[in-house]
Amino acid sequence: MASTTETKQKKMLILKSADNDEFEIEESVGVQSETIKNLVEDGFTFVPLPNVYTKALIKIIDYLKKHANKTDSNDEEIKTFDKDFVNTTFDDLFELVSAANYLHISCLMNMLCQTIADRIKDKSPEAVRKIFHINCDYTPEEEAKIRKANAQAFEGQFDESLD
């Protein structure tokens, strides 16, 4: 979408993912990330991101572009974009939240963490472990103790589904 009327040369940055793919983006888009902003302020135009894989980086660049173009009139459009953005698998959310944390993009972090908190609502600890590929590191005795300490002899049904 190169604008022909644009005369001023836009400052560009190159981001390099952990799997060595390079992406060129406008500086104004990239500096929404505190991590990138700090590097730009130190004079870098080539930004290696050893903790961010290509798959997550593509999605995050998409997010940054969309949010860089925020105006008063496209509020609804951005809301819809955000909703679609987080409507993904838990594995993707893991990659995204780790990347967003590394890149220090606070609005994205807030959105992702809220999504994760909402999606584990009502889930049993067993279901949460399966979803997040977590091996329980409690011994059965320790786990029994915690459940008892919580004293939450919950009688209700927690959600065992993995979506």
Binding site: D91, F94, E95, V97, S98, N101, M109, N110, C113, Q114, I116, A117, D118, I120, K121, D122, K123, S124, P125, V128, R129, F132, H133, I134, N135, C136, D137, Y138, E143, I146, R147, N150, A151, Q152, A153, F154, E155, G156, F158
Partner: protein, 393 residues
């Protein structure tokens, strides 16, 4: 594929501070050790909206009849979750709730404490017998001495809090701060019906509908000044509460059920045998049933009192000590524009063998109907069912 147990601690913190249901918060800590490390009480975000649970007193539920091991049951209206907990500290005590803490008053000995039901942290408070003019102000049952108790802040988070109460036969406002050897009584007026902590002040309403603001934080002597009055024709028991940043007053009106003998599904109740059995029958009827509520909004700037017929998305929770407002759309099981209430009449506890607790239900502001919100009997000699917003220990 990521292993989420290795998720950065900062991220876990951001997630855990967004969990509003206590059961989800506690489950979070059960997942694995690193997740457990962030589920501390400080990370239970107190600014998130929460709906109260119904706390049903020791031994009140039919299937919990175990005298040696009395249990307290907590019931969540919005997801039907139950939890049972053994809290021996509240046995034989009347409990009032504020900010997840219980203000407990011994039924017969009258001792007063602040107790966190899950951590079982306990703060002993000055005994009622050393309050001013106790002989004149005491209630016939010591357990009824404190009729309302409100915290200004959670004692877990600060030692700079005030516990405001309504005390005694004459219903004085009296407060306590950590370190105080005695309760401080506000003597300007009495016969208070309810008090709420709202935007750094205590607002109170008297039994005759006078709404007052009370400053206990200033360096000057405690000041109380009158804001406004309810119209005189409004009868009943008054509550004062905060909702969406505004102050509301609710009046609860009921009838003595002797006039409704056949209209209600009656549970047999027996009067206590008293020394003066010569009293006529009229004196012996004490069971009340709520019939209606009226809601008023108080404009603090103009002091205008406006009747409200629609609460919008809000649901109010009222009862023994509770005066809360919850945004219904955030909690699927909670109905908007309804008032959830629990028994708040003290007489049955004194005069009926079975005690009180039966006057409970949910009032629909749109059509004035009352439906049950809990399918069980909550008779108690000791403690009425109360609304409690659980917080972790």
């Amino acid at each position: 594929m990521g292993d989420w147990s290795e998720l950065h601690r900062d991220i876990l913190l951001l997630i855990v501070r967004r969990i509003n249901l206590i059961e989800d918060f506690l489950n979070f800590g059960t997942v694995c050790k690193s997740w457990k490390s962030v589920t501390t009480r400080d990370n239970f975000n107190s600014s998130l909206p929460r709906a109260p649970w119904l706390m049903i007193s020791v031994n009140d539920d039919d299937d919990d009849q175990d005298d040696d091991n009395p249990c307290t049951k907590f019931f969540s209206l919005y997801n039907g979750m139950n939890l049972k907990k053994w809290i021996p500290e509240i046995y034989g005590k009347r409990c009032l709730e504020s900010m997840g803490w219980l203000i407990t008053v011994g039924i017969y000995r009258g001792e007063i404490s602040l107790l966190h039901p899950f951590s079982r942290d306990e703060i002993e408070l000055p005994h009622q017998c050393i309050t001013e003019l106790y002989h004149a102000n005491k209630t016939s049952l010591p357990g009824n001495f404190v009729q309302k108790a409100v915290l200004s802040a959670n004692p877990f988070h600060t030692s700079d809090f005030v516990l405001m109460t309504i005390q005694g036969e004459y219903q004085f406002l009296s407060f306590w701060r950590p370190g105080d050897p005695l309760w401080t009584r506000i003597r300007i007026r009495n016969y208070f019906s309810d008090v709420v902590y709202f935007s750094d002040q205590f607002y109170a309403i008297t039994c005759d509908g006078c709404i007052q603001v009370c400053d206990v934080f200033g360096s000057e002597a405690t000041g109380v000044h009158v804001l406004t009055h309810l119209p005189p024709w409004i009868d009943g028991k008054y509550y004062i509460l905060e909702s969406l940043g505004s102050l509301f007053v609710v009046s609860q009106d009921g009838v003595d059920i002797r006039y409704f003998k056949d209209g209600w599904k009656r549970i047999p109740q027996m009067h206590m045998e008293s020394e003066d059995d010569d009293d006529d029958e009229e004196e012996k009827m004490y069971a009340d049933r709520t019939t209606t509520f009226l809601v008023f909004q108080i404009d603090l700037a103009t002091c205008n009192v406006t009747p409200i017929r629609d609460l919008g998305d809000q649901a109010f929770f009222l009862g023994a000590n509770a005066s809360l407002s919850v945004q219904a759309s955030q909690f699927p099981g909670i109905k908007p524009n309804h008032i959830y209430f629990t028994d708040n009449y003290l007489d049955p506890y004194i005069h009926l063998v079975e005690g009180g607790g039966l006057d409970m239900g949910v009032f629909n502001l749109a059509d004035g109907s009352i439906q049950p919100h809990y399918n069980g009997v909550c008779h108690s000699r000791d403690c009425p069912p109360v609304w409690i917003t659980p917080t972790p220990c």
